[in-house]
Symmetry: C2
Subunit: 319 residues, 2 copies
């Protein structure tokens, strides 16, 4: 069988183009050599890219729509960590064959996530080859309210959004995982609103999709250290029910990743002020510890005893 690749590629691009509505900010969109975008005066641009790889970020049994959702939200989480407003997306797909049904399913998930977060798909590329899904997102941010990984200070409160450990537990439990945990793995929701709120007051913010402890390390420089109170790590009811042993839970929460929550270093403040922040963030914000000058990270159990063997980082499906 000789596959007419060129026709296949153009037909797939046409399928994408038909599903994307125009936008006043995009005078030239899908179907030209490049997209032309009108940015807003006074705003800085925020740019990020992330690739999803088979057997690393998803497996063959995932519905294409779930892959599309994840591709969008893994990237949205990086915009969220900067406090940015999501605006435009590019999609670079390398596909083993011209599979229109797979593409339509992928678009179901990707475009729904894009629509609900304010993203407009403006262009991209389709190639033939081993499956690879690369998304590039552009957002906008008020330059006075950018959250970076730098700037954390001793005495800052460590605050996380949402709950931790669900996705890692789902991975570990495999097909036996309760649906609520599987949903966190396959349908994470980037903390866009919380990111915008945190950016206004935090000294530093980071996406912790590689795991709390692994990503916390990126906030620490010079002599900075941290104390984490494991019993304070926020957990979902589903995680508490599925994993009754608290040390097993802590391992998922501190060492696992894939929840796409945010970690912020906030200047010390009253509970009332934190409650106001939570209200604005639209998701729980939980103080899990504090930065100090100890030059290392100490994880304490509910009796204040240091726990040393919490595996840091997360190697997705290949661990």
């Amino acid at each position: 069988v000789t596959l007419n690749r060129a026709v296949g590629e153009f037909e797939l691009i046409e399928r994408i183009r038909r599903r994307v509505a125009g936008d006043a900010s995009v005078p030239v969109g899908i179907g030209d050599d490049a997209a032309v975008i009108r940015t807003r005066p006074g705003m800085a641009l925020v740019a990020t890219t992330d690739s999803l790889v088979l057997d690393r970020h998803f497996t063959t049994d995932w519905p294409p729509a779930a892959i599309g959702h994840l591709a969008a939200h893994a990237n949205l989480s990086d915009l969220a960590a900067m406090g940015a407003v999501p605006r435009w997306a590019l999609l670079a797909l390398t596909l083993p064959e011209d599979d229109a049904a797979w593409l339509e399913g992928f678009l179901d998930g990707f475009l729904a996530a894009a629509d609900s977060s304010g993203l407009v798909l403006v262009g991209g590329n389709i190639s033939s080859g081993p499956l690879n899904i690369t998304v590039e997102l552009l957002g906008e941010v008020n330059p006075d309210h950018v959250a970076t990984r730098r700037g954390a200070q001793s005495g800052d409160l460590l605050v996380v959004t949402g709950t931790l450990g669900d996705a890692a537990a789902a991975l570990a439990l495999g097909n036996g995982a309760p649906e609520a945990l599987m949903q966190r793995l396959r349908r994470p929701e980037a903390r866009i609103q919380a990111g915008q709120v945190l950016a206004r007051s935090a000294h530093a913010v980071i996406d912790i999709s590689d795991g709390l402890l692994a990503d916390l390390g990126h906030l620490l420089n010079h002599e900075l250290g941290a104390e984490i109170r494991l019993a304070d790590l926020p957990s979902s009811a589903a995680l508490n029910a599925a994993v009754s042993d608290k040390s097993a839970r802590w391992r998922f929460q501190a060492g696992g990743g894939n929840d796409y929550e945010l970690l912020a270093a906030l200047p010390a403040q009253s509970s009332a002020a934190l409650e106001e922040l939570t209200e604005a963030a639209g998701v729980a914000l939980t103080v899990i510890g504090r930065l100090d000058n100890g030059n290392r990270v100490r994880c304490l159990d509910d009796k204040g005893v240091e726990i040393a063997d919490l595996e840091p980082g997360w190697d997705h499906f290949s661990s």
Copy 2:
């Protein structure tokens, strides 16, 4: 061997970071969750992405620097086709292993191409998996001087930059290809300056890396057709020497791709005006035919006889 992927990935990113100089337009660059970019007031943003796939765009015997150069210029050519000024780059690499030597070689080619075209690498992503190289470029353009694929009119002159057919001949000749032709395949130079010049006066411009006839089709809509004079297709001295049969040359020039030249539809004008444009473009501009209302493309030989069997399009290495 258990590879510590996380450490490997961070080390590779650190290698990239060390080789990239800061830029005033990039307050937050490589090493954060996303890059923050300062755009210029009054300019529109131009965004494009392209992936290189093994055995499709390059083969295993290519030096990594040549792959890096091609990755940059394949994308630069899309910015050139819009008349944009190249500004910022993101790099999404999926690599089968943490091969620092390969990465350094790739960066030699990619960063040299970036530097010489004004691009600053602002971020990216490294994953483990089957080799995939995806580049995203951002450029800026004066919104009054954007060249799109739309707008071509009957009576317009069809003009191409540079010479055609070298890369296609190099592919066909394989290892026996003269060095000058191989250079065109492996080290194409995107026509950035010419793109900016053409955008000011052309009705439409397109990158013709998929082949002159295949890409010409994208300029034609409604009743538009074209007449191409094959004897007027510009050829290099190396192509004339390597392929003495003119119909074989025409096939490479009209059907082959990978030269990364531009095709423009220009309002009819005097030779003197065209010479001025060529001067400003910094590369030869050659009139190869004209648009008409014939609703199809006719390729005429040097006696005015229509040639019908010029294979349109180009399927890279897999044809």
